[in-house]
Symmetry: C2
Subunit: 608 residues, 2 copies
Amino acid sequence: MTETLERPVGASTNPASETARHWLGAFGDALAQGDPAGAARLFTKTSFWRDLVAFTWNLKTVENPAGVEDMLRETLDHVVPSNFQLAEEAEEADGVVTAWFTFEIKVGRGEGLVRLKDGKAWTLLTALYELKGHEEPMAENRPMGAEHGVDPDRKAWVERREEELETLGYTKQPHTVIVGGGQGGIALGARLRQLGVPTIIVEKNDRPGDSWRNRYKTLCLHDPVWYDHLPYIPFPKNWPVFSPKDKIGDWLEMYTRVMELNYWSKTEATHARYNDEAGEWEVTVNRDGEEVVLRPKELVMATGMSGYPNIPNFKGQHIFKGEQQHSSEHRGPEGCEDKRVVVVGSNNSAHDICASLWEVGADVTMVQRSSTHVVQSDSLMEHGLGDLYSERAVRNGMTTHRADMIFASLPYRILHEFQTPIYDKIKKLDSDFYDALEEAGFMIDFGPDGSGLFMKYLRRGSGYYIDVGASQLIIDGKVKVARGQVVELTEDAVVLEDGTELPADLVIYATGYGSMNGWVAGLIDEATARKAGKVWGIGSDTRKDPGPWEGEQRNMWKPTQVDHLWFHGGNLHQSRHYSLYLALQLKARHEEIPTPVYGLQEVHHDGI
Amino acid sequence: MTETLERPVGASTNPASETARHWLGAFGDALAQGDPAGAARLFTKTSFWRDLVAFTWNLKTVENPAGVEDMLRETLDHVVPSNFQLAEEAEEADGVVTAWFTFEIKVGRGEGLVRLKDGKAWTLLTALYELKGHEEPMAENRPMGAEHGVDPDRKAWVERREEELETLGYTKQPHTVIVGGGQGGIALGARLRQLGVPTIIVEKNDRPGDSWRNRYKTLCLHDPVWYDHLPYIPFPKNWPVFSPKDKIGDWLEMYTRVMELNYWSKTEATHARYNDEAGEWEVTVNRDGEEVVLRPKELVMATGMSGYPNIPNFKGQHIFKGEQQHSSEHRGPEGCEDKRVVVVGSNNSAHDICASLWEVGADVTMVQRSSTHVVQSDSLMEHGLGDLYSERAVRNGMTTHRADMIFASLPYRILHEFQTPIYDKIKKLDSDFYDALEEAGFMIDFGPDGSGLFMKYLRRGSGYYIDVGASQLIIDGKVKVARGQVVELTEDAVVLEDGTELPADLVIYATGYGSMNGWVAGLIDEATARKAGKVWGIGSDTRKDPGPWEGEQRNMWKPTQVDHLWFHGGNLHQSRHYSLYLALQLKARHEEIPTPVYGLQEVHHDGI
């Protein structure tokens, strides 16, 4: 539950609340009367209803009265929504009334946020937060721990836990298997543990947190702490703004332990196939040398929002005498002190790697093949996240859940309209910085519509650098920049299209990753990967995010064209928030609650 | 800082606030004018001022205007208190105005709680919460984590941490050594880490949390979760009410890691002496086989609020053919299935052990040598703790810090007056339970003045059982009770003074522990232990807590008669709250801030 919902609001004379209460009443009535057209008339001509699982058993945005009406025609009968209540006083600003509310459906309880213009809904967010009869055991409902009274047959907590660790995956099968035990798998695992869904997380590394520990030494999170909380156990007040990688690794490790996750480390999923007859997956894993076949009902890929490394094919790669590695293989600058290093690529990883190489004294050149969006970390914190995720926001009463809901309530279709003014402001305030960078020969962009970092992240998950220092090295000429495409490698150099030869002992390809369904091709087969299709992006018809318009992130946290196959991940914010909706979808299936999906996405790109 | 202090209060017409503001103004003026007599006149004839470090560099309660005047005469000149401000609206109930306030002293900032009767102070609590210039790096002041910008000489977090782990205790000396790494040592260690005081915690067990893990299998905490939070990282909302011992063990282990404590496990402190010339301790420890001499300025005993086990001497102990063990040695009921077990003692441990033995089928007799205070866990939660530490309290806006401060504000001298009505109520509501227990031959008491559990805990740390099920076994005759003193052991029985012979294969002495300064005798020498004197108790002149009146817990969390030697511990609530004041005392010494102690306690009992 959210603190939003803990403040019931009685009658009041606040005009914004009156407006909101009136709309909620009319909307609730139309739904109760089974009147999709009537409900649709309560929306403005251009309007957006984003539903997270409550009405659609999907993550779905419908648009305009026609979209609302279609969705309700398909769902109203079985959803049975009711009891729409204002959760706190509404607010009005710039002619928009913003109101938080709660509601019920037949099988669960939801919360929502509506923005009204002239008394009609312009944006509506509805989100399921719990299933009736399956509320999380928290706060008032937390477990007792000790069973008072004495019972010769009772088992101590440690005995029950040990038994579970011994039997799950062997004599008892998990309902869900999560492949990948980074932050995404861990957050989802925690939600499922809380909901009582037997789950095993499979992770190839030795310990939880190793996916961070194994990266280069000076790496810190690029997002600030307020944005990065995990569910249930927020970072404490003394936590650094940008968590060093080993510290976040330790946190994930302890989190996995105290949340009692069934986390199989040193375990690699080698093959999976769906057994139609048995109605279950057969997931073969190698657990520290032992082959085990897991038979879950549901399979979640949480292998990171990226797929396999993209390694470009250049003429002459085989004759190059130095070392070549993808950025994902790079373990830090040790041993590179005297080397000439060419880093191909100009996004986050490329910058981080160049900076750490320069620190040890290497001779570093970054090859920029296309323009990059750069935003200074402080500016991003202040202007991009400050109202929702910052100490200032906390002081003003903003909670993580509320911030997540506000963020989720902005429809993807118009999200860039909210973002562009922020980046216009940053561009102006930091103009000296951008001028200096361009003067150093670095190509800057702010996205195809000037909407900046978060839209690039949502659309393609790449194309940007959050500047934590490397840009100054470029400005100062300490990290050299070469522009243009690579045409070939010689024995000891990288050659660009304009003929420039960049002498190199080491070439690092910071050239990104394929779509996450690449992992499906490897684990299951290519046909299944094609059936599931490309993962990530919203169909914005911009670079690396081809149309048509999808409305939601492709394949993330929601049903796919492959039954019982799910994708989970994203940054810490997304892992935290969307793990709730994915967990509720899995829990409903575990409890055999009917989950008719409205608007299952079509596949427009195979992503292979 | 507390949320209490985050609500500044401007002018208001609330009459309670007016009264409080008037008193704070007059009190602040008298202090500013260096007028102890004038300040003393602002207290009622019978009144109590409890100071936690702010005025006294001590934990000290002075009584009545005369006590106030004496304390201020000694302290006012160097403390320089100022800026007394109401922190939130005051409240009035039953003729008592209660007000939260903030203030400053020359070197720090404090918070307080005053209760006024007829415009004069009846109880006053003043507590230091931070030293100026040494505020904890939290919230707005949290560390950045990443150092933006690039620096060839910078070290990654993990490198700095590894260097600290390698050097501290060897080439660099800690300022403070804490002997004992249970919850007490860990909480204090966390405070000191936050304050930047180099500290090593020495713990003989293999892992943090083992002091819990090593106890019997079904043990759960007897205090509820709301009472048990550690500083900085509260238990999450899904944490059980009564934490199973292994789960709290895991929590302590992860806490130690993520709070980055320098925790030397597998390490036993074997000897300590104070080197007067060098002005430092020499603490010899055996670290997993390696002898290391630590040279801290300050030494903290955090070995549990109990000292060495009390093992009674009975005639015939050497001829008894079965096994004898102290409760601290008892590892659980395994192997006792067919045994006749006599448990000598009738407090918490005795009950827990009897219940777990009965569960496996042992034949169990408890020997009750004197009456026991019993209170059912649910009643204690509801009536004893509910207003301050419960989900209900949380719902009503109570925070842990606020609850701790309220609890601390009730003077020990009159605390029993607040407690007795609670236990009168419990006695009445649970009269059937108490009647049945007495009918089963069990002797009940409610403390010498009917003040119940918490007063027994403060006075003697023993003499009670929080019933989580064993009492019903006694009522049902499943655990047998024998009353009276033990006179001897035969080859196969325990013999009581009335001639009763209790056949036994195993005798367990649940006979408690000596004073904590027993550890000092073992680690340093007996003379030092006698000089420090008895630890625990308040001089209530009741059983096991001889007078004269001390006013505060003997030797706990404050300066002792042995310079640079400190005692820390208590239950989780006390470890959490009082670790702040002990940490501030140690930090001040670390920074060489003058710390003139007012009213250093005298030793009335050597505790040996």
